[in-house]
């Protein structure tokens, strides 16, 4: 697995041979889902936007990887690329690979990719109302996959759909199964969406900001539900979010994205204790804290770079409080900074040492 953020080098079959590979990869076994060196461009009339510039991450069974980052950092695009539901054109995958159980999905046939969707990797969308088809009952939408992909009869599929709705704790699942999405409340829709994506027992679940459209109390319930289901089924989960509070509770590892690349990846405890990248640190500092009541909230000044004109050197340098001349010239590589941690910063050593 390649860890060089900027290069789309040839695939390296064994992660162990790569000195920069994070140690969290289990010895001798290939991760369940591994993305490496992924480059995606959007070719628009205003020019080419380089949306992903060498994204790499991996997730194992029973593990939750949180992908953090600002809007436009490429979190969702990565997820859509993994699912193979990117609109192409305007998007184009220029390099990289996505390995699911060792099989490269980008070179797989269209029908093989369809097989993997739903059964191998499933996805939950942010806005469940628009992700459920308004003209069909919730039950039908769950049953459809079971009937077509599992060859279940109408009756069995209905039974299973009720079980699934029960599993995601929709009250009165028997009656609810016959209702339409608009008859569900926001939280219930998201539950139905989760039930839908679990129907084929996926091994990896990608949750793209599953709680952003919900109010705070429901957010916590949905997150608990997801964490519980993930534990019970020993699924790999990729949780895309910008809610740092959610991340701390459910994630095992965190990958921080900025301008279409991973700038830091580490397990959740060490990253909260000591961020290894100035951007991660700034994100953590920008969380409202009770002991800073009345003070101005620490924010990251400036805006993320335009993806049509990513600055030379480290893409974060214009906003970075620690930027030095080197940062303006050379894009830092993603390097191991500690056991199981990688960071793309010229000054990560200093960050790790002080404080």
């Amino acid at each position: 697995m390649s860890t060089e953020g900027q290069s789309a080098e040839s695939p390296n079959p064994s992660p162990l041979e790569d000195p920069a590979a994070p140690a969290v990869v289990q010895q001798g076994s290939e991760p369940l889902l591994a993305v490496s060196g992924l480059h995606v461009e959007f070719r628009t009339q205003e020019g080419v936007a380089r949306v992903l510039n060498g994204v790499r991450y991996h997730v194992d069974a029973g593990e939750t990887l949180a992908v953090l980052g600002e809007s436009g950092s490429g979190k969702s695009v990565t997820a859509n690329t993994v699912m193979g539901i990117l609109e192409m054109p305007p998007a184009a995958i220029t390099a990289g690979e996505i390995r699911f159980r060792g099989e490269d999905l980008l070179t797989a046939s269209a029908s093989r990719r369809r097989e993997v969707r739903g059964e191998g990797i499933a996805m939950i969308f942010q806005d469940a109302l628009s992700a459920l088809n308004p003209v069909f009952t919730v039950g039908f939408q769950i049953e459809e996959q079971l009937r077509k992909r599992r060859g279940m009869s109408r009756k069995d599929a209905r039974k299973r759909a009720i079980e699934l709705l029960d599993l995601v704790r929709i009250p009165n699942a028997k009656g609810r199964v016959r209702q339409f999405p608009h008859e569900f409340s926001g939280g219930m829709r998201q539950r139905a969406m989760i039930a839908m994506s679990l129907a084929l027992d996926p091994e990896v679940l990608i949750a793209d900001e599953p709680t952003t459209a919900l109010d705070v109390t429901v957010q916590a319930q949905i997150m608990d539900l997801l964490a519980e289901i993930q534990r019970e089924r020993n699924m790999g989960m990729i949780l895309i979010t910008h809610d740092l509070g959610v991340v701390a509770e459910v994630a095992d590892r965190i990958a921080v994205m900025y301008a279409g690349r991973i700038v830091e990846e580490a397990d959740v405890h060490s990253i909260y204790r000591k961020p290894g990248h100035p951007y991660t640190r700034a994100l953590m500092d920008s969380m409202p804290r009770l002991d800073q009541r009345g003070q101005e909230l620490n924010t990251i000044k400036g805006l993320p770079p335009s993806l049509t004109a990513i600055p030379e050197g480290c893409p974060f340098h214009p906003r970075c409080p620690l930027a030095i001349d080197l940062c303006r010239e050379k894009d830092p590589e993603l390097l191991t900074i500690a056991e199981g941690r990688v960071s793309a910063c010229h000054r990560s050593d200093e960050l790790m040492r002080d404080e």
């Binding site: 859509n80 699912m83 193979g84 539901i85 054109p89 369809r114 097989e115 993997v116 969707r117 739903g118 059964e119 499933a122 996805m123 969308f125 806005d127 628009s130 992700a131 459920l132 088809n133 308004p134 003209v135 069909f136 009952t137 459809e144 996959q145 077509k148 992909r149 929709i170 009250p171 009165n172 009656g175 609810r176 016959r178 209702q179 339409f180 008859e183 569900f184 409340s185 926001g186 939280g187 219930m188 969406m193 839908m196 994506s197 129907a199 084929l200 109390t217 429901v218 319930q221």
Partner: protein, 326 residues
């Protein structure tokens, strides 16, 4: 139907946590005791609101009546519409012949009754044809986009650019030159064919734009993410969401197509004498308007009522399917 649900949800509320209360509160229909069942989709909603519309009821009754007339003309008249008795030519309405007789001495009432069939067949089949052809092309163009869309859209533009009457005259006078006489079925199908060929771009455009909007929706993305094939997405997920505007157009167009059939018959290129149709009757009457106005008034009146009924139906369906219009 609603009571058990309400009871069940009330029971649930006591036992479940707070979230369910919120959820159930949202889920319960405002004014849940209403007559509508629990399965209210777009179509269910539309049906509920349609049933309450006088315009819909009036037009539906007229259309039902016309359909019965087309299927069983014998129920309304026992007179042979082709039987001509020149001694009765141009007689005005009387107790024997309620609508009078035409130039050839044929009973106009019988001819109006028997003319429904041709008009309805042309209207219904032409609508079916345009809706099917236009939707299919529009759906594929909208879903796949790119070069396929470009080709299909330009192709549609070519047909759209032809003025209808001119195009129909060209088609019909080629396949059906004046002086020849084919069977009624063949003539009717030629007329239907020319209407479909010249009108499908309209439905194609409606469908294409509906498909363009619908395919951006997350549910299409979600279906793809769950491994649905493109054909499944198009027919199972896109089509039901894009059908409403096309159906509305179709129900309005049906009336227009009946009028178009009459236009073509009037011009002498559409249906012709072995076929009994209102357009043919109007055409026959055109030179005798001042001598025998009843020859024109009755078929024209029947035509106007029929077209009106279908346009009214289309209007009612459009209002019912568009929640914003309520």
């Amino acid at each position: 139907m609603t009571d058990p649900t309400a009871a069940a949800s009330a029971g649930k509320m006591e036992t479940r946590a707070q979230e369910e209360i919120t959820a159930e509160g949202h889920g319960a229909r405002p004014g849940g005791g209403a007559d509508d069942g629990k399965q209210r989709s777009l179509w269910g909603d539309a049906w509920v609101s349609l049933r309450r519309r006088p315009i819909f009821i009036i037009s539906a009754v007229i259309i039902l009546f016309l359909t019965v007339m087309a299927l069983f003309p014998g129920l309304f008249t026992s007179v042979d519409p082709t039987k001509a008795d020149l001694s009765l030519a141009r007689q005005t309405p009387s107790a024997d012949a309620w609508f009078g007789y035409d130039q050839q001495g044929r009973d106009i009432y019988a001819r109006v009754i028997h003319g429904v069939r041709a008009s309805l067949v042309v209207g219904v089949l032409a609508t079916l044809g345009t809706v099917l052809l236009g939707s299919l092309v529009g759906l594929f163009a909208g879903f796949y986009g790119g070069w396929l869309d470009a080709i299909l859209s330009r192709f549609a533009d070519v047909f759209f650019g032809l003025p209808f009457v001119l195009g129909a005259i060209v088609i019909l006078s080629t396949f059906n030159p004046p002086g020849t006489s084919y069977g009624p079925v063949r003539i009717i199908f030629q007329v239907i064919f020319s209407i479909v060929v010249l009108s499908w771009p309209v439905t194609m455009r409606i469908m294409r734009s509906a498909a363009l909007t619908a395919k951006q929706q997350d549910y299409v993305k979600a279906a793809r993410a769950l491994g649905a094939s493109p054909t499944r997405i198009i027919f199972r997920h896109l089509l039901p969401n894009t059908l409403a505007p096309v159906l509305v157009y179709g129900s309005i167009a049906l009336g227009t197509y009946i009028a178009l059939e009459a236009t073509l018959s009037f011009l002498g290129v559409g249906l012709r004498t072995p076929v009994v149709s209102w357009g043919v009757m109007i055409s026959d009457a055109k030179e005798l308007i001042r001598i025998a106005p009843h020859m024109l008034l009755f078929p024209a009146g029947a035509l106007a009522v029929t077209v009106l009924a279908f346009v009214m139906l289309g209007d009612a369906v459009r209002d019912a399917l568009d929640p914003k219009m309520r």
